[in-house]
């Protein structure tokens, strides 16, 4: 999947789960500030990702993700690794 495809899939879930305006989400925006995430909300972010992409998120994986672009790249890496594993 490309990052654009990842973003197109993720954004509706983020808008739904965190009840924010779609327009606020852009690749350079800060993930934590935009979604107004506190420590509890990261648990729900894990649920959103695991439910929709099928891979396990390890505790602490999200800690170094600053922007949405970083977030999409992280998901893309995991999805592609998952696809490769399935093809081997």
């Amino acid at each position: 999947m490309t990052q654009i495809e990842i973003a197109e899939k993720i954004i509706p879930f983020l808008v739904e789960e965190f009840e924010i305006e779609r327009e606020l989400i852009n690749p350079e925006a800060n993930l934590r500030d935009t979604l107004q995430l506190d420590s509890l909300d990261y648990v729900d972010l894990v649920v959103v990702i695991e439910s929709n992409f099928g891979f396990k998120v390890k505790q602490g994986d999200f800690q170094n993700l600053a922007t949405f672009e970083d977030f999409y790249a992280y998901v893309q890496g995991k999805v592609n690794a998952q696809d490769e594993a399935a093809n081997n």
């Binding site: 789960e17 909300d41 648990v43 729900d44 439910s51």
Partner: protein, 409 residues
């Protein structure tokens, strides 16, 4: 230090009304809130009868974080508390400058527990329950959520005392204020109403199976009753010291003058006469009034033969004949369990404010014990200056509250 304790706000979300106005009308009309729930039958309940009220839509009212931590009974309690605070004239600005407490009755959160464990079993991963689940599952869910939503800074805990939880919450609030530890406490009771909330209670065979006539099923004190009907919702009662209420210019609705309690010290579910009688006598003694001054008793009577008979004997032993008017609003609402002790204070307050006594509907024929009481089968327009409300629960926990009309003195 001994303070007088007054009621300045009430709120209700029940199967006979989602606010005070609707509920007053239902009480006056003797309207039943009981339905037959086909889902319960499919799920394996012996009785599909239940009181029913829709969950409120709180999207746009509460933020996402607050909503995902609230179980059904927490949503009910938010609505009843919001209404009670408005009646009391207490806004967020006042709360932020005060040390208001919360004591709420709640004794289960079955749906949240079952839903969470269904997810864990299916996914094999605890994280998939999300961040709100743990705050929904605990017995203290109502107080932990409402204290966060309303930013309360006083006493904060849940009272779990089976079907007298709501009544004890008001009794404890009364004691905290009377003895000077708090100026103002949000008291009440909440009861979940979902499919999972009553399965194991249904297992005891204590529920009415008069499924062909749901409105006739709950018939406390009637000779032909066959069991209780479970129900739910939430009720809130705002207690304040008289000084605190006068200082802020609040409208005073009533005064709590007695709280009696006892434990049967006997069987876990079979009632006794002595236990309830002790609570009744303690409340009356504390209130320093004579039994003749009590105009109305809102009975605990749930529509079970043993429970109704024991309470009828206790009331007769204390009040004799002719005793005060008696009715059980459970004839309309069903048994609101953890909420009942608080909701029945709200129902009785509405009667006192509006000059009537709600009927004990379906009271067609008395039995030997109920024949000795002054039970009203029809609505009666009459002045209530003082009422008593009984609540009894599993484990033999008993609570009686006495409330007096406020007459500026």
């Amino acid at each position: 230090m001994v303070n007088r304790v007054v009621i300045t706000g009430i709120g209700i979300y029940s199967c006979i009304g989602k606010n005070l106005a609707e509920t007053t009308q239902s009480l006056y009309q003797g309207k039943s809130g009981i339905i037959l729930d086909a889902e319960r039958k499919k799920y394996g309940y012996r009785s599909g009868l239940t009181g029913f009220v829709d969950s409120p839509n709180l999207k746009g009212v509460l933020d996402r974080r607050s909503r995902i931590m609230l179980p059904e009974q927490g949503e009910f309690a938010f609505v009843s508390t919001d209404e009670a605070l408005k009646v009391a004239g207490i806004d967020q600005d006042f709360i932020d400058k005060s040390s208001i407490g919360i004591l709420f009755g709640n004794d289960s959160s079955a749906q949240a527990v079952i839903s969470a464990n269904d997810i864990i079993r299916e996914k094999g991963d605890t994280v998939m329950v999300g961040s709100g689940s743990v705050f929904q599952t605990m017995n203290s869910t109502v107080t932990m959520n409402l204290s966060t939503i309303f930013r309360l800074k006083g006493i904060n805990f849940t009272v779990s005392a089976a079907c007298s939880s709501g009544s004890h919450s008001i009794g404890l609030g009364y004691m905290f204020i009377k003895h000077g530890y708090q100026d103002c406490i949000i008291c009440g009771g909440a009861q979940e109403i979902n499919l999972y909330s009553m399965g194991n209670f249904d297992a005891l065979g204590a529920f009415s199976i008069r499924e062909d006539a749901p409105h006739k099923a709950s018939r406390p004190f009637d000779r032909d009753r066959d069991g209780l009907v479970p129900s739910g919702g939430a009720a809130t009662v705002i207690l304040e010291s008289l000084d605190h209420a006068l200082r802020r210019g609040a409208t005073i609705l009533g005064e709590v003058i007695g709280y009696g309690f006892s434990s049967n010290g006997a069987h876990i579910s079979n009632p006794t006469v002595d236990g309830p009688q002790k609570a009744l006598e303690m409340a009356i003694e504390q209130s320093e009034i004579g039994v003749k001054e009590i105009d109305y008793i809102n009975a605990h009577a749930t529509s079970t033969p043993a429970g109704d008979a024991s309470e009828a004997k206790a009331i007769f032993n204390v009040f004799g004949q002719p005793g005060p008017y008696v009715s059980s609003t459970k004839s309309m609402t069903g048994h609101e369990c953890w909420m009942a002790g608080a909701s029945e204070i709200v129902y009785s307050m509405l009667m006192m404010q509006n000059g009537f006594i709600a009927p004990n509907i379906n009271f067609d024929n008395p039995d030997e014990d109920s024949a000795k009481l002054n039970i009203l089968a029809e609505t009666k327009e009459t002045k209530i200056d003082c009422f008593l409300s009984n609540s009894f629960g599993f484990g033999g926990t008993n609570s009686s509250l006495i409330i007096k009309k406020w007459e500026n003195k």
